[in-house]
């Protein structure tokens, strides 16, 4: 065990953790928005609308994240027409490609988590609102959505942790995130065990924080 290498690589890995956290938070914000939109579409009565939303979540939950990120980064980059459009400004950057892939992926899972939460809301709650003369729109936004979000907190906490680990795939599209920098250090020192132990420890610490934040929120919004 080369403890000196572990200590020396720690600051470099910590720096790279910032990239990981940036990727994670951007993807979660976009993903939550996408997930909420698609969950609302999923519970829509119109069969075309909810089939479309189902199709999206089916495709993104049914294929590996690595394949998705490769299609978006290397796949779209091969389309010559796309390179002449304004979209290329975004797709040219590995950073944005990774965020797009992660957001679409976590969005698909989030939409499923929220959909099941919507469907477990007891009809009595909605009927109570209706009998008080509250409009359906307000019932949906002020009663159903908040309850659904509270209901889905434990499952969503899991999704955050899964997504956090998923960001390690950013290193496959040249981003120097925690895994990317760990691999770089290994490629110059040829000592994978030491470096991966430190990187693994940092991932574990991030999980610890996420876990506790979710636990705190669950307690705060318990009913």
């Amino acid at each position: 065990m080369d403890f000196e290498l572990m200590i020396n690589s720690f600051p470099k890995l910590l720096n790279a953790t910032l990239v990981t956290i940036k990727l994670l938070s951007a993807s979660l914000i976009f993903g939550l928005f996408i997930g909420l939109c698609f969950a609302i579409l999923r519970v829509n009565k119109n069969p075309i609308v909810n089939k479309f939303a189902y199709g999206y979540s089916y495709v993104f939950r049914g294929t590996p994240l690595l394949v998705q990120i490769f299609i978006i980064y290397f796949g779209l980059g091969q389309i010559e027409y796309l390179r002449s459009t304004v979209l290329w400004v975004i797709l040219k950057e590995p950073y944005w490609c990774a965020i797009i892939a992660f957001s679409l992926n976590t969005g698909a899972y989030t939409s499923e988590i929220l959909r099941s939460a919507f469907q477990t809301i007891k009809p009595g709650i909605i009927e109570a609102g209706q009998s008080l003369g509250i409009s359906n729109k307000i019932i949906f936004y002020k009663i159903q959505i908040p309850i659904a979000i509270r209901q889905s907190l434990p499952a969503y906490g899991n999704e955050i942790i899964l997504m956090m680990k998923g960001t390690s795939l950013a290193s496959t599209v040249t981003l120097m995130d925690l895994t990317g920098v760990a691999k770089y250090i290994i490629s110059t020192t040829f000592k994978p065990i030491e470096v991966f132990i430190v990187a693994g420890g940092i991932y574990l610490f991030i999980t610890f924080i996420i876990h506790n934040v979710i636990k705190f929120l669950e307690k705060k919004y318990s009913y």
């Binding site: 091969q78 390179r83 040829f190």
Partner: protein, 275 residues
């Protein structure tokens, strides 16, 4: 119960046989993704200069061999962890790698070169045809200055953990934006897509890609050798495996004397890259 017993006995025998069969085989690790050095054909079979050379060397050694595929970025750790006994993967002999493993004598040499897509503003740089960085002369130093100016702020793509990355990181051509990829294939893809302003690798890797893909990839600037680019490509072997090192050195001597290395090199590179 009887079936379970028979089954476990079968498993044990199979395991034992596979271990004992492997015991006297030399395992050689290669990447299979760096044509023409080593690559795979459409059916997934390993081919290339080093694959053919490995079989030839094994014939001279007089021992059974097995060629194992390994991702480039884990090549040296895999050797140290005894997943195989020798590396033949276009790996240049550099001082940095020699801290971790031993190398046989070189069997072939490659020059590195920058490549761009046709029409790039990096075309037509005024540099000599080739520079050696071991003891850079005035012309080489001037060429590095020209490159420093031309590459300032540009994104240059390389495969990770290569001599090419080391060179760009060394600062000899100033501060370029280095982007690293797992395989040379991915470097080629992003060079063609325009994400990279230029790429750096073995000159043959680019000409091979240009030929196979039909993409207008052109080599620019000088070819590089020496210094960060190492002293030829050799067989990588664990430091404590001196016996195997001698065996390989002798086999390379024989193969060179009989003209095998230059014959195989000419077949795969189109020119004699042997040394």
């Amino acid at each position: 119960m009887n079936i379970i017993k028979k089954f476990s006995l079968g498993v044990l025998i199979t395991l034992f046989l596979s271990f004992s069969a492997n015991a006297d085989k030399i395992k050689i690790g290669t990447e299979g993704a760096y044509p023409p050095w080593n690559s795979k054909d459409a059916s997934g079979k390993l081919i290339g200069f080093e694959v053919e050379l490995a079989w030839t060397l094994c014939r001279y050694i007089g021992q059974q061999c097995e060629i194992v595929e390994q991702d480039w970025d884990g090549m040296i750790p895999a050797l140290i962890m005894r997943k195989f006994d020798a590396i033949m993967a276009g790996m240049s002999i550099t001082a940095e790698r020699q801290k971790a493993i031993s190398f046989s004598q070189g069997y072939a040499d490659e020059v590195a070169s920058l490549a761009v897509m046709k029409g790039s503003d990096l075309e037509g740089m005024d540099t000599p045809a080739g520079i050696n960085l071991t003891k850079p002369n005035a012309a080489a130093k001037k060429a590095l200055k020209t490159l420093t100016v031309a590459l300032a702020g540009k994104t240059v793509c390389v495969q990770t953990a290569t001599i090419h990355q080391n060179f760009l990181d060394s600062g000899d051509v100033g501060k370029v934006n280095v982007r690293t990829y797992k395989t040379q294939d991915e470097v080629n893809l992003d060079l063609a897509s325009g994400r990279c302003d230029a790429a750096l690798a073995a000159a043959v890797a680019f000409s091979d890609y240009a030929e196979k893909s039909g993409k207008p990839v052109v080599l620019v600037g000088p070819t590089f050798s020496g210094g960060a680019f190492g002293n030829g490509v050799g067989v990588g072997i664990r430091k404590d495996d001196t016996e195997l090192l001698n065996t390989f050195n002798k086999a390379i001597d024989k193969a060179r004397k009989n003209g095998d290395i230059s014959r195989i090199a000419t077949k795969w590179f189109g020119f004699d890259a042997s040394m």
